[in-house]
Symmetry: C2
Subunit: 340 residues, 2 copies
DNA sequence: CTGTTAGCGCATTCAT
DNA sequence: ATGAATGCGCTAACAG
């Protein structure tokens, strides 16, 4: 039983190769009756096109773009590195990934950057700010036939076809869960977020407060402080928390700037007693997790996300189904002992 | 700059396509001087073969085999399901995965099953028992040119080219870490393992006891009970633990048969107080994690492992490098809130 | 609206 | 020891 080919389908349907190709790839200019015949043949023979052959014959490389935020955020830098690495590997598989930095916190600017993309590109993955102009720009691109993915921070109201990232409400709940179980006794809990312009940090805060309030009445969450993902600003916030609240038992840092919290904790001499949960497994987080200053890290795997972006873009382009389990980004929990 | 092809290399080296192919694929019958010239050209042009073209031209499908244990182990069943699913997807990409069940706890039997495999297969992934006959069988297969991977339970002393699985010592340490942090106060900890014939459970036990002894002097690990991954046997063990030790504060089940522990805990009425950590996110584990009987699950992602087996086998066969980050199986920690 | 044809880059006979 | 020629299954002009 040799594999069934386009040719087999053509014979079965009594048409030529080219016609089957037109039907398979949704090109116009085929009689409705013929389309049906071909589709019937495809089903009858359980035909699946050979990816290798089609990619080879296609000639043109896929042109995928990625838009990340400018700035000093450690996680974004890791993600950029992973995307470039994935891109380097995929160059040999007829896929071109280009990464571009834009100030995603500026809605109109981000929207303009998206509008400027040529409609000839095959796909875009973007860290999306929740702003009407951005939604509009994304929808236009989709209308022009480009596959658009949101990355890290979602924009469900847009027509993006897929989101590569984690459920941030669940991530916030997980942080609360860990703090609730790690803390013995009662006290206050500090909450530091980055910016509230992207949905991700808002969602984490929401999930966090929800679980603490509902399940850990012994803990009291203090008013949120904005750290803007900036080390020194975050450090001030953490210092203030520690100084103002002798009964502070835990800190949850939902954004970047972890090293600020670490510095404040170490300066205070309370690093051991205060439970500290942060996001993203950066080299710094790793060190302090081993040392004990950080008690647990909640992570989204940058390498996995980069590869997922490429795979989803490619599959969508090929009209192939994606494998849900493979593209689901986990909410990783890292303790000292299960570091990768 | 069009991509460089085999043809370009041939011109550069002043030889024909066929000769370059011989060199690239390590076939014999080429003058040493010619080999050098070709290799120089490859380096000079930074040539990377086009996977799509080579797979298309190759014609023959890859024939990969997988050997799993017979028996009722839930995790193995999940793994089998994932392997079959991966196999179904890959049939359309010129890869054939066949899964086979063998009583891997019987060394000679397992070895015989491996010896019986035709040397024409391209690769094997096997859950390896630590037995000399198995090592021998694996080494023979490798010598015959077959790519061999160990799966779930490793056999580092063999010549297998790769292990798909987690670091089980670290997994045991992680369990200890969680119990140490979740338990308030002091008391006894029960430890139930499956069989000690495979390395994985031994390693988990080792890591677990190490961390409890070193970092949590308030806890005392009771002598290990063997549950043989069997629900009813595990249930007896758990019942005995609960009955004999009123000061039991936690149970770590390093093997299968979780539902036995759940049953014993629920019957005892101490499900809430006793911290229970188990392995593998089965549907049952999921339910009881949400309900609170299980406090945390340590997991190795069966879907990830199945895909990794296929990718590593394929890459090895193609002489392509594997992506370490993509093939590293994580030690997942699942709490109620970060369930996938 | 439909068919014919020429490659895509490589593996693999079959010659030399 | 090396080269020439054929075809893998599909896409994309180009004809009709």
């Amino acid at each position: 039983m040799a594999r069934t080919t386009l040719q087999d389908v053509a014979s079965e349907a009594g048409v030529s190769l080219a016609t089957v190709d037109r039907v398979m790839n949704g090109r116009s200019g085929v009689h409705a009756r013929t389309v049906e015949r071909v589709q019937a043949a495809v089903k009858a023979l359980d035909f699946h096109p050979d990816r290798h052959a089609s990619r080879l014959a296609r000639g043109r490389d896929y042109d995928f773009r990625i838009i990340l935020p400018t700035g000093e955020n450690d996680f974004m830098k890791m993600l950029e590195g992973e995307l470039r690495e994935t891109g380097a590997r995929l160059r040999h598989e007829r896929i071109k990934l280009s990464v571009q930095q834009v100030d995603v916190f500026d809605g109109p600017l981000l929207a303009a950057a998206i509008e400027e993309l040529p409609a000839t590109i095959d796909g875009l993955a973007v860290v999306a700010l929740d702003h009407p102009a951005v939604v509009e720009a994304i929808n236009n691109l989709v209308a022009a036939g480009v596959t658009v993915l949101t990355l890290v921070s979602d924009l469900p109201s847009s027509r993006r076809s897929h989101f590569v990232g984690i459920d941030n409400v669940a991530a916030g709940r997980t942080a609360a869960n860990l703090i609730g179980r790690f803390v013995h006794g009662s006290g206050k809990v500090g909450l530091i977020a980055g910016s509230l312009a992207l949905r991700d940090h808002i969602e984490r805060q929401y999930g966090f407060e929800q679980v603490i309030a509902r399940e850990y009445p012994n803990l009291q969450v203090l008013p949120l402080r904005e750290g803007r993902d900036d080390n020194s600003r975050v450090e001030s916030a953490a210092r203030a928390l520690l100084a103002d609240h002798p009964d502070l038992v835990a800190i949850y840092s939902a954004g970047g700037g972890q090293s600020g919290v670490v510095a404040a904790l170490e300066a205070s001499g309370r690093a051991r007693e205060v439970v500290f949960i942060a996001h993203e497994l950066t080299p710094l987080a790793r060190r302090h997790l081993v040392r004990g200053t950080i008690d647990a890290i909640i992570n989204q795997d940058a390498g996995h996300m980069a590869r997922s972006v490429a795979r989803v873009l490619q599959s969508t382009r090929e009209g192939a189904p994606i494998v849900p389990g493979q593209e689901r980004i986990r909410i990783d929990v890292f303790l000292r002992d299960n570091l990768p």
